[in-house]
Symmetry: D2
Subunit: 358 residues, 4 copies
Amino acid sequence: MSSFGRIFRISTFGESHCPGVGVVVDGVPPRMLLSAADIQQQLDRRRPGGNKLGTERNEADQVQILSGIENGQTLGTPIGMLVNNKDQRPGDYGSMNQIPRPSHADYTYQQKYGIHASSGGGRSSARETIGRVAAGAIAEKFLLEKYGIEIIAWVSSVGDFDTDSVDMEIITRDDVDANEIRCPDAQAAEKMTSEIVAAREAKDSVGGVVSCVCRNLPAGLGEPVFDRLEAKLAHAMMSLPATKGFEIGSGFSGARMRGSVHNDPFIKKGDTLGTTTNNSGGVQGGISNGESVYFRVAFKPPATIGQAQQTVDYAGNSTTLEAKGRHDPCVVPRAIPIVETMTALVLADLVMLQKIRE
Amino acid sequence: MSSFGRIFRISTFGESHCPGVGVVVDGVPPRMLLSAADIQQQLDRRRPGGNKLGTERNEADQVQILSGIENGQTLGTPIGMLVNNKDQRPGDYGSMNQIPRPSHADYTYQQKYGIHASSGGGRSSARETIGRVAAGAIAEKFLLEKYGIEIIAWVSSVGDFDTDSVDMEIITRDDVDANEIRCPDAQAAEKMTSEIVAAREAKDSVGGVVSCVCRNLPAGLGEPVFDRLEAKLAHAMMSLPATKGFEIGSGFSGARMRGSVHNDPFIKKGDTLGTTTNNSGGVQGGISNGESVYFRVAFKPPATIGQAQQTVDYAGNSTTLEAKGRHDPCVVPRAIPIVETMTALVLADLVMLQKIRE
Amino acid sequence: MSSFGRIFRISTFGESHCPGVGVVVDGVPPRMLLSAADIQQQLDRRRPGGNKLGTERNEADQVQILSGIENGQTLGTPIGMLVNNKDQRPGDYGSMNQIPRPSHADYTYQQKYGIHASSGGGRSSARETIGRVAAGAIAEKFLLEKYGIEIIAWVSSVGDFDTDSVDMEIITRDDVDANEIRCPDAQAAEKMTSEIVAAREAKDSVGGVVSCVCRNLPAGLGEPVFDRLEAKLAHAMMSLPATKGFEIGSGFSGARMRGSVHNDPFIKKGDTLGTTTNNSGGVQGGISNGESVYFRVAFKPPATIGQAQQTVDYAGNSTTLEAKGRHDPCVVPRAIPIVETMTALVLADLVMLQKIRE
Amino acid sequence: MSSFGRIFRISTFGESHCPGVGVVVDGVPPRMLLSAADIQQQLDRRRPGGNKLGTERNEADQVQILSGIENGQTLGTPIGMLVNNKDQRPGDYGSMNQIPRPSHADYTYQQKYGIHASSGGGRSSARETIGRVAAGAIAEKFLLEKYGIEIIAWVSSVGDFDTDSVDMEIITRDDVDANEIRCPDAQAAEKMTSEIVAAREAKDSVGGVVSCVCRNLPAGLGEPVFDRLEAKLAHAMMSLPATKGFEIGSGFSGARMRGSVHNDPFIKKGDTLGTTTNNSGGVQGGISNGESVYFRVAFKPPATIGQAQQTVDYAGNSTTLEAKGRHDPCVVPRAIPIVETMTALVLADLVMLQKIRE
């Protein structure tokens, strides 16, 4: 339910307007250097900036480490982390209580629980991901320091504007963060930005795709048969708000190929084997093969839009809904650290599971 | 690892050439009428037929129920099921032991475990899915009898040949099984069949896409935040051999849309609410909304092909590999009951979790 | 690791001297009235009082609810709770860092993690149980309101002083709290109190036994075969600091009996069956039978004593250890709400699991 | 439910009179030499012999390994094992179907599931433990070969007859198996045997206690806070049929002690620390300290006795019940390998969890 992972295991809590959101991270290795700053940097990347693309809500999102660390070192015990919600009042959302927002979670939460948070999306809000990102920052640090594993996500499409010129073997986070859209292809980024601005001016929203690569992954990660690496990644990505699709390696285009083209022949690479192509996306039989793992995640356009929408209220009466306040017209730039975080959580868990066999 | 589900929980065992493959199903409701015939019918749909599309191995795959049933009724205790492997000898595979098959799991299993089954794919073999299908048949029966839930999968593309004329609100399994390719669009089916035959004649293989719909699902299924309905479905599908992608509702095409188009406005439907469109794929905020849930799964072309492939052996020496024997040139027709099975396993588990709140 | 329960599931965090201790409670039913006061009352019972029996540390232990509640009602989402640690400084414990305290967790944590909290027992400290008690208070409220289930623990022995005159079918928490020792047999309580005072005056500590009864439990709780009711209770109790034994019903004395004496014959009780005796302790085959469940938990004497102890430091050098500061000479009076809490957590989980079958 | 363990994880299936009982063992390390004979030897120790103490049912209990092994080596994949039930007919039990046997699981299973196996105890039968013992034999082999860990259980009391002269640091399984009662103290064994024979002649049954020691356990095993070593052991033991109590180290007698007596002072032992006494039972703060772990398990007298018992049928009508056929008058001699098995399952899991931290 609100926990994820088997050994490196997180449990998140918090709605959009309750006192705070946070996470308990279990299974963090002991004697790891860790400070709030290590966590804050990913939270800051996740935070809605004051830029022209995102929402303008001011959320400082300062993390507080509650436990599990002493003198800058992890103890091996659970790390509790908390981010206070600055604005705990319902604010602009009050009028929406009689009308379930189309394609939002209001109606389904009400059907599931017989109650739903009066405002702001409650648990389905993007604020829930704060706990994940805080936990993921620890996982990332562990993976990088112990294994040299690098996880880098970027925006590969917004609306109909794509990039296909990103070299995933050399891309860095600095490249990604070079522009607000977080697409390291400057030309494509410009078009994407225009598309987002256009959507916002039309009081509308727009979808997009996030791509992600994991480099320096050792071979052998992934647990047959139900916890294959791609199954865990798919689970992780599709647990994020607004995701509609996941593909790894050749993905849906691989379904159109012949085997003779799709197969990745082996070659000798140093002391081990590698492959000449990587349609597999670094995974064979659910287990990493030592090549880079890469995948793509589809995000739908945000459901909350300023345009008038014809819909019905909970009682079934026809009505019109216009969302007030500022809303994010496109989630993919902010989704970058969240996709990285979920990737790190999956990999940290699988690395630890594989350690048992060493 | 080899278990799936929280309450309706299965644990599978078995490789391609060991004495048997099977499953233990825990959490089956008591006092349900159940016989081997209920299970055999899905196993038969999964079995490689003697038809021109599949492999020609003769696998009777008769299920034996070992426990959990008395006088034709479930006891509420675990149901053990076993299918004997008729041919336990390595057979045609022996020569492959020095050469990891490209895009197959030989190399990664060897890297993970330091050993791999000497033949036939071992645990990554499609035979592993027998245990899943046996378990899924129970889940399906439970869902249909208690909730009227129908799960129907079909082949929606093979190679470059698609169908877009299937009405998912009325399609039946009989429609699907009307032809060997299991595409209920006869014209598309013909082209798909030709493509598979062509691939086989070229000693090659070809990929495809399976679509699936779940009808009559109650609203409220899916567990925020990590076990959203779409996350569990994605996990389930991506745990199947040869899958490369998953999308629900609008999927990747939804990432190209504006919110004003993508949003599904509510309308009154009988005593409850429904939506006028269904880009959401029946899921909002990770929870079913009462509309049909539908999704698509991409399968890559099978890795084992008769064509000569340039590759290296485990020691890194260049070599050529030609798979002998008969191999399935396309998995999607046989994947139909397996996709249905994994869907049923996910839904049975979520239905039971939701029952706690009633 | 730091999570307990399958459906009603808690994850605790916090050491003795970190910023705070707390818990995330997942699986709480929605639409339940709940306030901080509901939780505080058990925390207050758990808190070391200023009385002559306990330690004199001043720990206010005010709980803060972080999430999962709106307008006094549960949302069905995780409830995060936090209790700040007032004194985060190592305090009196500093000198113990070179010497592992005999029969304490210093040495084993160091062996396990290669590091241990510099003071106060860290995660093995009784302060960790604050998160449990906060969660348990919710479980208790749920069990009482929905099923009328009552859970009452009391001190049944301290050192060599026992009581055997407690009527577990009518005892109340008020009876238990009537004296500081929490033994509802006033005469025995007096002797127990004297024993604790004597131990303290000798700079020593003393062990004891807590008994507990659960009344109004429906028949059918407990999951064969590994999660039998008594197995879950034993697990829960033996996860508490300082516990050395658990017995249910006839317990160890039952091992001395003949079956003809031990068996509990059935009789008609109202519309259902009951038993004339209750050596089973309300459980048969791991499942509740509708009679009261009762069990006993042995607590060893606290390891931290003021007397000089001959021991060695981490390097193996002989030394003498005298604990400074105030230490609890006997834990059983304060263990009462903790035993109740763990019982409630077990029962809430089993009640929910059984609900699936209704 | 029917699974136990986190990494080294078993799932058992089977009732007393269904086609077979068995287990799926997940998480077994790859490349371990393993044959059916390794498993059969513990199954044979568990099997009711034709001796004067046990029942006379002839159950060959030959294990069949279904999967996970090739050429005598484990593959790292799940090991399925099956033991056929020779006698699948209800046999002597038929008459008991209208009358719930006192202190047996008939009534509670009926209350829980609304149905119960028509004969022989179903899932609560001792036959369910066959799957556990088969799995435990693998765990034991792993622990012994990799860590030198020895697990030895023996009968320490039957009825009122105890032994206190067993030296747990040197005892062997051969010592234990030297007599049928499995008490390595020959004089006590004789008295225990007489007690069992007397009970049987009186058509009665008698309880007993099993003691168990684990030697050569490394320090550091056990997971704070909920999965402490003693909590997992207690859970495991109390999940066995007929158990009523568990105590570790000083146990209930420790609750009578002063801390100055109970504490185990540290001394230097070779390169590490040990303790001069072992009241802790090898566990401090839930984590093994390198000393021998020992514990005791109380078993009640078997519920099925030949004596006439006054009770009621399911409808509440008074009746008399006399069990026909041969029934085991005391379970403790046969419980020896079962206690060892559950211990091995707990330790194998904890050893693997600790490996993650190495």
